[in-house]
């Protein structure tokens, strides 16, 4: 098993008028070839910014990757020039965005958009690119591919557009696909289909996948490894099974408890996490989750916990790991 992506101590910050927002604050993770990694967390925890940093798509101003390294297939992406990065984007790393309704250009046909990466990276002729595009549409389960190519995005439903986005992402046989909340904007029934399709395609093509999501059900079913993020940091990581069976950070535990379960008695009420996520421009010292944490002790307000092993590659950043384990 070889490592495809290695992110080390990544820090991405945004300069706003009022504050310096540390959206990603010292994130490290690795992704093995052919594996699926989930980045989990609530809105604004830095999971999308992490992914955009890997693609070097952080808009400057106001955003900037200030330190860290991103090794992709042995190449340090942060040291590449912009035009060299242009050859990685779309060719080596494909990306699926959250909003299928706006991530396609409304005035270009599906065919032209699908063939874009092919023309850019594989130097295909128009004819070959069109045939490949039709083939891609069939692969993502869109019937009547040839005639669909000449249609515009408004003639596609949300789920179909997301399939088109997936086809675009895999068009150049990338090594890695990053899916930023690929199903958030879709109907529940369509969500399952799209995820199933992504799983199937990545397995068949041997592509590694990073799924960014706040949906724990997605993680359980489709991810090999899970990184839980909170306030720009990874606060728990492990295999999906480990994190589900033994959530070791109070935040992860809270997330799992705030999802209704079918085997839970109807009389039992949900146990949501109290409070709001902290302001990333003005983080308190110590653990960022301290204010919302029911296990917090004095030390949590002053010292920032670091990731510590809880066994078998499973790590959590919390001073109260033992108490959380006892309460589980």
């Amino acid at each position: 098993m070889t490592t495809l992506l290695e992110v080390n101590d990544l820090r991405t910050q945004f300069m706003t008028d009022d504050a310096l927002v540390k959206a990603v604050d010292g994130v490290s993770f690795t992704l093995e070839e052919g594996k699926t990694l989930a980045l989990v967390g609530e809105s604004g925890c830095g999971k999308s910014v992490s992914a955009l940093s890997v693609m070097r798509l952080i808009p400057w101003p106001p955003g900037r990757i200030v330190s860290g390294s991103i090794l992709f297939d042995g190449i340090d992406l942060l040291s590449l020039k912009e035009h060299e990065m242009g050859r990685i984007r779309g060719k080596e790393i494909g990306m699926v965005f959250q909003e299928p309704m706006t991530s396609l250009n409304p005035v270009l046909t599906i065919g032209r958009q699908l063939t874009e990466a092919l023309e850019l990276h594989l130097d295909m002729s128009r004819y070959d690119a069109d045939r490949r595009a039709a083939d891609l549409l069939r692969q993502v389960g869109i019937p009547d591919a040839e005639s669909r190519l000449t249609q515009y995005p408004h003639q596609f439903s949300g789920g179909m557009r997301q399939r088109v986005m997936i086809a675009m992402a895999i068009s150049c046989n990338p090594k890695l696909v990053i899916a930023d909340e690929p199903t958030t904007a879709l109907d529940v029934t369509i969500q399952a289909q799209v995820l199933e399709l992504m799983k199937q395609l990545t397995q068949r093509l041997g592509v590694s996948l990073i799924i960014i999501t706040h949906n724990l059900g997605v993680v359980a079913r489709y991810a090999d490894d899970v990184n839980v993020m909170y306030a720009g940091k990874i606060i728990e990581r492990g295999s999906a099974a480990q994190v589900y069976a033994n959530p070791s950070h109070p935040y992860t535990l809270g997330l799992l408890k705030s999802v209704p379960r079918l085997d839970q008695p109807k009389t039992e009420s949900l146990d949501p996490i109290q409070g709001q996520p902290p302001d990333l421009g003005n983080l308190p010292p110590g653990c960022a989750f301290e204010a919302r944490c029911r296990y917090a002790v004095e030390r949590c307000a002053t010292d920032t916990p670091i990731l510590e092993s809880v066994g078998g590659g499973h790590e959590a950043a919390c001073w109260q790991i033992a108490e959380v384990a006892a309460a589980r």
Partner: protein, 283 residues
């Protein structure tokens, strides 16, 4: 394809009869200008001193002017000047304005500030004043008129293109285009331009009418296309006013030609503005 175009044209006529009328006026004028030698029977430049200021007749449909030149021929040939000036100046002005506007909005920051303020300054002057200043500096002549009008019409196109670009450049599809490895140039020309084309074309078509008016005004002031080339504006200028009381058709017909063509462009442009929405295309 042809059939679909026909259907589209029919629907446009049904929905916007005035727009279709405008298009018809422009279309007929273009045909008349193209086939001027075939549909006229007199040379517009040759004076016939035996027929000075004669009224409408079978030989001279619209009468003759104070030099005995056939007014009908002069108006038909004058359409050439008006149309060339209108299309060339607006084509040039909107192209320059639109490209600068898209770049300005896409780059943002100082560049955008610079072009926006420049636009503000230029828009503060009436177009005719800018055109007159330009001609005073560079002299009269057909292409100088084209440049003068084109430059004075670039700022509105720049504004429209800039606004349209600002509204689409933050869409996810621009980010998605970056994510497949497209360069900034490719994103501008392949992804942004088609999105901002519709409002730009509408602005251009509405401005065509104004361009004809300005060309006429410049010619009237003696700053337009130099004589003896027949120009609608010049036909209304100078000593003609002396003759207007005895031969009113000398001012009525060129004036009507200007009014009708400007009306045609405006009707068509307005209808285009109402109808044009890329999401409705192909339905």
């Amino acid at each position: 394809m042809l059939h679909r175009r026909g259907v589209a044209a029919w629907r446009f006529t049904r929905r916007k009869p005035l727009g279709a009328l405008g298009f018809l006026i422009v279309f007929i004028t273009v045909l008349a200008a193209l086939f001027a030698p075939i549909i006229t029977f007199h040379d517009p430049l040759i004076a016939d001193f035996t027929a000075i200021k004669v009224g409408q007749s079978f030989n001279h449909w619209l009468g003759t002017d104070e030099f005995g030149r056939d007014l009908y021929s002069r108006i038909v040939y004058g359409a050439r000047v008006s149309l060339i000036v209108a299309f060339a100046s607006i084509g040039m002005g909107t192209t320059i304005g639109a490209i600068l506007g898209i770049f300005s909005a896409f780059i943002g920051g100082r560049v955008d500030d610079f072009f926006s303020r420049l636009t503000d300054i230029m828009i503060a002057f009436p177009g005719i004043l800018l055109a007159m200043a330009f001609i005073t500096v560079f002299g009269i002549g057909l292409w100088n008129v084209v440049w003068a009008i084109g430059i004075s019409f670039a700022p509105p196109a720049l504004r429209v293109a800039r606004g349209a670009t600002l509204s689409v450049k933050n869409n996810v599809f621009v980010e998605a285009a970056h994510a497949v490895g497209a360069s900034n140039m490719r994103i501008i020309f392949r992804h942004l331009l088609p999105n901002v084309l519709a409002p730009i074309i509408v602005v251009a078509s509405v401005q065509l009418g104004s361009a004809i008016l300005i060309e006429s005004a410049l010619s009237y002031l003696g700053l337009g296309v130099p004589p003896p080339a027949p120009s609608w504006g010049r036909m209304l200028a100078g000593s003609v006013l002396v003759h207007a009381t005895t031969a009113p058709w000398l001012v009525i017909f060129p004036g009507a030609a200007i009014t009708i063509l400007v009306l045609g462009f405006n009707l068509f442009g307005d209808a285009l503005r109402d109808v044009w929405d890329p999401r409705l295309r192909g339905r």
